[in-house]
Amino acid sequence: MQNKKLFSKGRNLLQKDSAKSLLASLLSVLIGIFAGALLVLIIAVFDKDITIGHGFEAVKLIFFGVLSKGRAESGEILFGFSGVNIGNMLFRATPIIMTGLSVSFAFKSGLFNIGAPGQYLIGTAATLITALSIPSTLVPPVIIWILAFLSGMLFGALWGVIPGVFRAYLGINEVLSSIMTNWIAANLVTWVFENSPFRNGAESGKVGYIMKTSANSVTTAKLGLDRIFEGSQVNAGIIVSCLAAVVIYVIISKTTLGFELKACGNNRLAAEYAGIKGKNRIVLAMAVAGGLAGGGAALYYLSGNTEFFWSTYQSLPTEGFNGIPVALLALSNPLGVIFSGCFMSALSIAGQQLKNFTAYNENITSIVIAVIVYLSAFSLILRNLFSKRKLRQEKSTSFPVNLAKREIEAEERQAQE
């Protein structure tokens, strides 16, 4: 009897939308990784310089790159716990967890924040200028750190407000205006830094970069993490970003504001009819999203050992765009973002390992990520694969809207029970 009960419980779990979505996410991850592995093997077959054995070695690295310990003297690639890799994974996860939160938060409100790269850039500029221009001889570095972090968030938020206002008050699609603000940010940041004293003129050949914040003795505290993960760049930033995820989770699922945002995302007209100030909420959602992206930039560049290449006018930062796959994989769940962010950065570590130890290069991980995003775009179909019920008519126009809708439905069902 007990068994049967457990079994039916398990089946109920599978029937739940969230479980199905999770399975769909895992499936897109698997397909993505297999696509990367397949490409690697195909190259191995056609390239005379690369043997099939090397191909399989590379495939192993794609799957378990974060555990790689480099080549042994016998030429074999060793696997095991590697403090450097896992520490660096956490370090790189820090900014993309924040941009992932940014995109998720906007998703929940029915907005697609493709403007995260621009907000990230503006946040970077504000952070660096604050961190480098307040003399650490007068102000304690901790205070400067906090000010720099806050200014990164503030300016990121301001940059997010622009598409928010355009969307709320003029009805312009936030995707279009975000693309414009992204490129305006890219040029603006170049302009700001072009002849500025913040460029690293001290070291030769480094004038294309902004000084590290450690030049002004502003660095993120390590909190002993560097002892656990020896030789890596990890610092307390990862803890800050995890805290941010928890805060966003609480805001979205436990507060009135979160409910209002989700209501706006679901159906703005209905929400306004119910007395929610829809326009106001859209602008607010974009401000928070921008602030999160800017904060991610601040956490990355305040670490003290990262350099910012200031001539950004030709390309946008990948950390901003990677917020999109992170949010999609986590199905916009803020706590899930922590895991999908770590997964994405584990992939990029794997790419680095590929570049160091095989004839392949790090771009393979970007391919894997792109395939995952592509599949997430039609995750609705994937999700329905797991559903035995007859498909309900679902409006498939916009993924975020559906997500919000489904959540509200689930909550309602729970309330009824």
Binding site: M180, S366, F378
Partner: protein, 336 residues
């Protein structure tokens, strides 16, 4: 003056042709955010084709123009192939087109750079021999001018030191615009972007039309990407087209999805790009004074202006925007 015009043409043509690519996709009801990615892919394929042809000696320098035309066709073909990924997601899988477009924009540079570094062990793929100007630029001898013959303004501006691609692209732009706006086929395609249910009820195959629109869009964007890399990057592929795909989207919105306005917008934006790239050396009226350089306006401002203007124009014209009504909405037969 001729220098200014020639430089402006160089930046205008890719914008023009890629903006038309955007029009075709959006008019059929699919938002093609992947224009940037398709351009990158087209540029890579084009340069790769030139590289391989030169390495195998298929074409000599005398037949360079033939090679150029063939390369345009090849990159258009592969651009169309690449765009099938978008139409599959958007039409068959009813996916969110913004996300699929973003995915393709991530996929294309990654794939391109992956292959470039596997092929060359570097991050750039160039021509096998020679450079773009010496191989493909139109020379005096191509028109039968003597080396010492003095040329009039028209000849020296629009004939020599131009690329054949410019005129092919303009011809394609005109022909396709006429097809889209003056033929039965064009009307049907546009109807799918405005009211697909009405089109379907009249016997038009909406899925097929959207596939056609997106495929033409991919072909044009792939070709535009190659033209961009040929004329501005000395026929090399780096997995990057400096945001031209997004700028083309801006051109399309600025031009309100209308070919004539889009051509004007492309020229305006091309002028800005040209000024930003070369404002210190532009001598407008030939009196030896570099007026623009003396104005002392930062090159960054010129680079930024197209996007700012688009944003401002969006703000003022959003009420009269002529964006296709059904763009971005997957067609679902069961919903009327």
């Amino acid at each position: 003056m001729s220098f200014l015009i020639q430089q402006t043409i160089i930046y205008t043509i890719p914008l023009l042709i890629v903006a038309l690519a955007g029009i075709f996709a959006e008019r059929s009801g699919v938002i093609n955010l992947a224009l940037e990615g398709t351009m990158i892919f087209g540029a890579f394929i084009g340069v790769l084709f030139i590289n391989i042809s030169q390495a195998n000696g298929w074409f000599q320098k005398e037949n360079a123009q033939l090679l150029l035309i063939l390369t345009m066709a090849v990159s258009a073909f592969f651009g169309a192939l690449f765009s099938l990924l978008l139409s599959f997601a958007a039409v068959n899988m009813k996916a969110n087109q913004t996300i699929s477009g973003t995915a393709l924009n991530m996929l294309s540079p990654a794939l391109t750079l992956f292959f470039i570094s596997v092929i060359t062990n570097q991050n750039v793929l160039s021509m096998y021999e020679g450079d773009a100007a010496s191989w493909f630029m139109l020379k005096r001898s191509d028109f039968g001018f003597e080396a010492t013959e003095s040329l009039n303004f028209f000849e020296s501006t629009f004939l020599i030191r131009n690329y054949l691609t410019t005129y092919i692209c303009i011809a394609i732009y005109i022909i396709l615009s006429v097809i889209l706006y003056r033929t039965k086929f064009g009307l049907r395609l546009r109807s799918c972007g405005e009211n697909p249910h009405a089109s379907d009820s009249l016997g038009i195959n909406v899925k097929k039309m959207r596939y056609i629109g997106t495929t033409i869009s991919g072909a044009l964007a792939g070709m535009g990407g190659f033209v961009f890399s040929l004329t501005t990057a000395n026929a090399s592929a780096t997995g990057d087209v400096a945001g031209f795909g997004f700028l083309a989207l801006a051109v399309m919105i600025f031009g309100n999805w209308n070919p004539i306005s889009v051509a004007g917008a492309a020229f305006l934006f091309g002028l800005f790009k040209c000024i930003a790239a070369a404002y210190a050396t532009i001598d407008i009226n030939g009196d030896g004074v570099f007026t623009l350089a003396q104005l002392g306006i930062s090159t960054n401002l010129y680079r930024m202006l197209p996007y700012v203007i688009t944003l401002v124009v969006l703000a003022f014209t959003s009420k009269h925007s002529r964006a296709p009504k059904a763009e971005g909405i997957p067609y679902d037969k069961s919903k009327r």
